[in-house]
């Protein structure tokens, strides 16, 4: 009789244990057969008031094309990348071929889309995956647009064509650990030296920065005390970029902490001005996300059955669904009007801030209702809504928090700025 030594016995037991315990996860369609997962994206049922009618034929064609692209290329892979918090680099050339980068910039290989077309494209990208929406927003409406509006002709010729094809990727570094909402108080400095400038400071939350080829860094020109933009190449000596982990939303976006220690930037890589006109585009991300959430919930409620009936047969579910639908129509209308105000040159900062604040708030409510409707499947990314739910949190906050945007509009409509806390008055009057 062979007696197993204790070592052999452990190994034997290990072999038996691992074949039971270490199986890979079940394929989602087998684990939950009743409903189709988001990898096969649901058709669009959220355009209830047929807003397509308001779009020009080009804008409709752009909408259709971007939707096709996202449903085909991103929907099948997004759950996995969101879970791993990784970026699917292999789709960057495909995005480049689509021609969406560069948005409304004219010339230099950019598509020259109308503001509304660019907004619709942003919505359609975000409808499937908000992180990709942010990736393109940062690249196009922050990085590229800054170069297009504030750069010299030489800088535009040098950088924009490759960025438009996404042969290179850019980012836009404004926020600092100590300066978020109070962005204009930023402390990263740019000091004049022979032949250029030396940047010193720290940035946080910078999307795309961990892999961007070109970084647009906003720093305070110590000579003029104004904030300028500086074009920094990746791998520049003194530049360190590290990924921010543990995010609950927009997990596919790679946000970076940036350290600048004595980073030299030649004179010709300084941008004279700084502008951020992306608030309108950002407002379209929650619109797109809400459309996707509704589309998913609509399909799910028709497919999933309990107590012998589809979920769509229950009154409480219909009420939630219809509430979501109403929200989507209202958000779209507001976003569309904001685009028209922008296109006609009338738009004020307060109008843009109101749009972004209200829309992102309504979207959060919409995603919350959607999360309830999907029950258990509303807590896994495979069915889109849980991912959207998480993604809306950073969107509610970035590009001006809800609160700050509210105060921007508040100042505009009352004439009274209420950003700073009230000065201490000594004795309380209570």
């Amino acid at each position: 009789m062979t007696v197993l030594s204790s070592a052999d016995r452990d190994n034997a037991e290990k072999k038996v244990k691992s074949s039971y315990f270490d199986l890979p996860p079940m394929e989602i369609s087998a684990a939950f057969p009743q409903a189709t997962p988001a990898s096969k994206f649901p058709p669009c049922t959220s355009d209830y008031y047929n807003f397509n009618d308001l779009l020009t034929p080009e804008e409709q064609a752009v909408r259709k094309r971007v939707r096709e692209f996202m449903e085909k290329e991103v929907a099948p892979i997004m759950t996995e990348y969101w879970e791993k918090a990784e970026f699917p680099f292999h789709i960057i050339p495909k995005f480049g071929a689509l021609g969406v980068a560069g948005g409304s910039i004219k010339g230099y290989g950019c598509p020259g889309l109308s503001i509304t077309a660019n907004a619709i494209a942003t919505a359609e990208i975000s409808r499937v995956d908000a992180s990709c929406g942010t990736f393109n927003l940062v690249h196009t409406s922050l990085g590229m647009l800054t170069i297009a509006l504030c750069g010299s002709e030489a800088q535009k010729q040098k950088y924009l064509p490759d960025l438009a094809q996404m042969k290179t990727v850019t980012c836009w570094a404004l926020t600092e650990p100590d300066n978020g909402s109070d962005a204009s108080a930023l402390t990263t400095t740019a000091t004049k030296v022979e032949g250029g400038w030396v940047l010193e400071g720290q940035k946080r939350w910078i999307g795309n920065s961990t892999f961007a080829d070109l970084l647009v860094i906003l720093a305070r020109n110590t000579t003029t005390n104004q904030v300028n933009g500086f074009l920094v190449q990746k791998d520049a000596p003194g530049l360190t970029v590290t990924k921010i982990p543990n995010k609950i939303g927009l997990r596919i976006v790679q946000n970076g902490d940036i350290l600048l220690k004595n980073v030299f930037v030649p004179d010709e890589e300084r941008l004279p001005g700084v502008l951020a006109v992306s608030r309108v585009m950002v407002a379209w991300q929650p619109i797109g996300i809400s459309m996707g959430v509704y589309d998913m919930c609509h399909r799910y409620l028709m497919e999933r059955k309990q107590f012998g009936a589809p979920l769509a047969a229950f009154q409480l579910n219909q009420q939630k669904l219809v509430k979501m639908l109403g929200n989507v129509q209202a958000m779209f209308m507001m976003g569309w009007r904001l685009c028209k105000l922008y296109e006609s040159g009338q738009m004020t900062p307060g109008q843009a801030s109101l749009g972004k604040a209200w829309i992102s708030s309504k979207a959060r409510e919409t995603a919350s209702l959607g999360r309830e409707l999907l029950g258990g499947n509303g807590v896994v990314g495979d069915f889109l809504v849980a991912k959207a739910f998480g993604d809306l949190e950073p969107i509610f906050t970035y590009e001006g928090t809800y609160d700050i945007n509210t105060l921007v509009t508040g100042r505009e409509v009352t004439g009274i700025a209420s950003f700073k806390p009230p000065a201490s008055r000594g004795r309380s009057r209570l």
């Binding site: 034929p57 080009e58 409709q60 064609a61 752009v62 094309r65 971007v66 096709e68 692209f69 071929a97 689509l98 021609g99 969406v100 290989g109 950019c110 598509p111 020259g112 889309l113 077309a117 494209a121």
Partner: protein, 251 residues
């Protein structure tokens, strides 16, 4: 050389169609419409021929209601140089379409006319052949490969036929209809979608083209195919033979 490509606006291939209650046809209200997939392949081939330097201009033509302009814009976004919309308030059958295309060919003088082999709504597979006959031009249908010879002014076309592949040589001008494996149509890029805005689409009427639209065919009724009945389990081979002989009448 100019290439004329006929593109048809049809119900999108992914749509689940329903027959109208009055049985006059398929319900197309609020249904997604797209360019016929075989027409996309035809347009793609024309664009590739132009890009190879064998043609100067690709002209897309569509016949139907005003929404056909959307289909033409898709074609322009893919790369066609200009479009022609022949306004017609209802859908025509192949012979009428062929007569219209012949009139257009007399005006435009193309060196090649490309069509899809058939439309996915009626599956007629007639229009290309009829156009060629009306013009007296050679035809190569079900093309899976097209190679042009500029000097000889001819095209060598591989055709997908039931027995396999047949290779034909046709002198230009000629009519070619395209089959599935000829090419993979390109996706329009956003910059091209925006550029398509400024490409011209000429509107023409049936009066302009002097075409007689009286049809010799009337659609009497459109119904769904009968629902598949469930099968029957037989208890023996004898019973099977009996049923095949006396009920199904196949032996």
């Amino acid at each position: 050389m100019k290439i004329l490509v006929a593109v048809k606006r049809v119900v999108d291939y992914a749509v689940k169609i329903r027959v109208k209650p009055d049985k006059t046809g398929v319900d197309t209200q609020n249904v997604k419409m797209s360019m016929n997939p075989f027409c996309e392949i035809a347009l793609e081939e024309a664009l590739r021929i132009k890009e190879a330097g064998f043609a100067k201009e690709v002209v897309a033509v569509s016949i139907g209601p005003s929404q056909c302009v959307d289909t033409l814009r898709t074609g322009l976004a893919m790369g066609a140089d200009r479009g022609i919309h022949v306004e017609a308030s209802y859908s025509f059958l192949p012979l009428t379409i062929a007569k219209i295309l012949k009139s257009l060919a007399d005006v435009e003088n193309p060196g090649l006319i490309f069509l899809g082999k058939q439309a996915i709504d009626d599956d007629c597979n007639q229009t290309g052949q009829m156009v060629a006959a009306l013009l007296g031009w050679p035809q190569a249908t079900f093309a899976s490969k097209v190679v042009l010879d500029k000097d000889k002014q001819s095209a060598t076309v591989d055709r997908e036929v039931d027995e396999g592949l047949e290779t034909l040589s046709v002198d230009l001008p000629a009519v070619i209809t395209t089959d599935l494996r000829l090419n993979q149509p390109r996706y329009a890029t956003l910059p091209n979608i925006m550029k398509a805005k400024s490409k011209p689409i000429k509107k023409m009427t049936l009066e302009d083209l002097k075409v007689d639209i009286k049809s010799d065919i009337e659609i009497v009724e459109v119904t769904e195919p009968p629902k598949r009945k469930s099968g029957v389990i037989v208890s023996s081979v004898d019973e099977l033979i009996y049923k095949l002989k006396n009920e199904a009448h196949v032996v």
